[in-house]
């Protein structure tokens, strides 16, 4: 019925989508794993990153490497914004209940959305694909955008970096310990507020990076935040909230389900994701790699 090359092509675009999802969801998951705050506004930081990178790219106008420079600057700016949000807002809410924290990040969404609306308007923006990822690669006779390979590579790079950070460094030891028992870590003399700031900043930086990387897909527009964040929620729910291996697996599942779902019924591709999510939840309510909550 379906030939192998069509399926392979679909599989590959699923991987590209999974890489994009991982870029966004990993920041979300990292923040949740350590701070125990579900940052609703993560998607909005991602959107802000996309718009900022467009403006920076347009402003600096460096040929060839302009996109890469803009991406790096965007990531740094978003990290700074992350510091502001953590220091002035979230830090004051750690003693409160999580509903208030959730509502605070919801408020940040509203504010960022309006800032973007005010600053850039409602039009679609796009950055041309950067060299050397402008063309297409032919696989089994199908053209596959080579930029997708760049995104896949970047996603892979982020997987390796986060793995290294969490499992191979001293900071990673602290991160894992803090996710397990925050008070104990604090009792050992490690300044928890400092750790929280850095994790939140790292999360924001990743959000900015992923936003900038999405710009050449030509989908920089209002509403892109909500579109991706809901899929990211599906990713973390499937994989287990706060777990990086879970986020990776969740991204792969959601990316592939979407890519193949779109072949059968494009309108319902998203619905398939939620059906998978429901099935996972029946078997493991806390996700594949998640821990049951207290």
């Amino acid at each position: 019925m379906m030939s192998f090359d069509v399926l392979f092509n679909q599989f590959l675009s699923g991987i590209a989508r999974a890489a994009m999802l991982f870029l966004v969801a990993s920041g979300l998951s990292l923040t949740f794993g350590v701070l125990r705050i579900l940052n609703f506004a993560h998607g909005s930081l991602y959107m802000l990153g996309a718009f900022l990178s467009y403006s920076i790219w347009k402003f600096i106008l460096i040929p060839v490497v302009g996109f890469y420079v803009a991406t790096i600057i965007t990531a740094i700016i978003l990290a700074l914004i992350g510091i502001l949000i953590e220091f002035f807002l979230l830090r004051r809410l750690y003693v409160r209940g999580w509903p208030e924290q959730l509502l605070a990040t919801y408020a940040i969404i509203l504010i960022i959305t309006d800032i973007v609306k005010y600053g850039w308007g409602g039009e679609f923006l796009s950055i041309p694909r950067p060299k050397p990822f402008t063309g297409a690669v032919f696989l089994f006779g199908f053209p596959f955008p080579s930029y997708n390979f760049f995104v896949i590579l970047l996603g892979l790079g982020l997987v390796i970096f986060l793995w290294w950070l969490v499992y191979r460094t001293r900071l990673g030891d602290i991160i894992r310990a803090a996710a397990h028992d925050r008070e104990m870590v604090s009792a050992l003399g490690i300044p928890i507020p400092w750790l929280f700031t850095w994790i939140f900043v790292l999360g924001s930086l990743i959000a900015g990076l992923s936003g900038a990387v999405t710009a050449p897909f030509g989908s920089v527009a209002l509403g892109m935040d909500i579109e991706i964040i809901v899929e990211c929620f599906a990713v973390v729910v499937i994989g287990g909230m706060g777990s990086l291996p879970g986020t990776l697996l969740g991204s792969l599942i959601v990316g592939e389900v979407y890519a193949f779902g779109i072949m059968f019924k494009p309108e319902l591709a998203l619905a398939f994701i939620f059906i998978v999510m429901a099935v996972v939840l029946i078997i493991r309510p806390w996700g594949i790699f998640g821990r049951p909550e207290r």
């Binding site: 409160r96 509903p99 919801y106 309006d114 809901v230 939620f274 939840l281």
Partner: protein, 326 residues
């Protein structure tokens, strides 16, 4: 024991006096308010019903649903489609809307009540968003992002004043029913699950079943709010189901004070009228609302009524101390 009971009666009488006055104010509102503010009042009442349904789960069961608007919108769509496409009886359409919200609430709730806390919030959000996406993308059935226009109530309800009284009636009756539910043994069980779900389970109570029943009730009342709103507004759009909309009852409850029955209503009234006022001079309402949320969270922990309640209690204690009573 006896004094306790008379005290309780006293407070009910006092409360009844307040509510009576408020109700009279609401009854004469159409003759005082302009048509514009009357429609804002209608919106405030409908959204308050949504907030009350949300607070049954949040304030009493202790679980935050971030998908309550999905049931509101779903029921609104059911009414809109039955009325415009098949010219179904108006009253039966309302019933169908509520039933639809309840049935979908049963399905969604089946998955959600397995989880607690933030996981519950994310899952309700995800399911709510799923319903939104289905309605948004299913263009030839639901009209997609165009929504559905031309949803008219029966002739005698077409004037804003008449429809206002209808909304007031539905709201009052629903609030009363919800109040009774919360006071009933069932409501007490919900509260005990909020306080300590483990102990409640040890009493032999099936937590998941109780939570599912509460979830369906909440979905039904959210559906009722959507069902009566759409014919008033004459149209329905997909954003009614979106999680941004679901955030409004969350905000209202936290603004007013979740442990107090009418707290979410107060919160919703403030928000709705504030919204109407702000829209008079800027289209950037969300940023104002975002700032408002942050101000409330930082400076009024426990919400307005919760804050007032706390202060009153402090004063009472002080008075008691000066009187030399324990």
């Amino acid at each position: 024991m006896l004094t306790n009971q008379t005290e309780k009666k006293d407070s009910i009488v006092k409360r009844g006096w307040w509510l009576g006055l408020l109700f009279i104010l609401f009854l004469i509102a159409p003759s005082i308010l302009s048509e514009f503010y009357l429609s804002i009042l209608c919106e405030a009442l409908v959204m308050s019903l949504l907030a009350l349904s949300f607070n049954l789960l949040f304030g009493y069961m202790g679980q935050l649903s971030f998908g309550q608007a999905a049931f509101y919108g779903l029921s609104g769509y059911t009414v809109a489609m039955l009325v415009t496409k098949v010219h179904f009886n108006f009253w039966l359409s309302l019933v169908a809307g509520v039933l639809m919200a309840g049935v979908i609430g049963l399905v969604v709730g089946y998955f959600c009540v397995r989880l607690r806390g933030i996981y519950f919030a994310v899952l309700t959000l995800a399911f709510g968003q799923l319903l939104f996406v289905i309605i948004y993308k299913w263009h030839n059935f639901t009209g997609g992002d165009d929504g559905i226009q031309g949803v008219f109530p029966p002739d005698f309800l077409k004037s804003p004043t008449a429809y206002y009284y209808f909304i007031l009636l539905v709201f009052t009756a629903s609030a009363y029913v919800l109040w009774r539910i919360i006071q009933s043994p069932f409501g007490q069980t919900l509260k005990s699950m909020r306080e300590n779900s483990e102990r409640t389970e040890f009493l032999g109570i099936n937590i998941a079943r109780y939570q599912l029943i509460a979830f369906v009730i909440a979905a039904g009342f959210a559906g009722l709010a959507g069902a009566i709103w759409v014919p008033f507004y004459r149209s329905v759009a997909p954003f009614y189901l979106m999680w941004i909309k679901s955030g409004e009852p969350v905000m209202a409850a936290i603004l007013g004070g979740p442990p107090i029955f009418l707290g979410p209503v107060l919160g919703m009234f403030i928000m709705t009228f504030f919204h109407a006022w702000v829209l008079g001079f800027t289209i950037y309402w969300p940023v104002v609302m975002g700032a408002l949320i942050l101000v409330i969270i930082f400076f009024l922990p426990g919400g307005i009524l919760g804050f007032a309640h706390e202060k009153l209690k402090e004063r009472k204690e002080k008075l008691n101390l000066t009187k030399g009573q324990p």
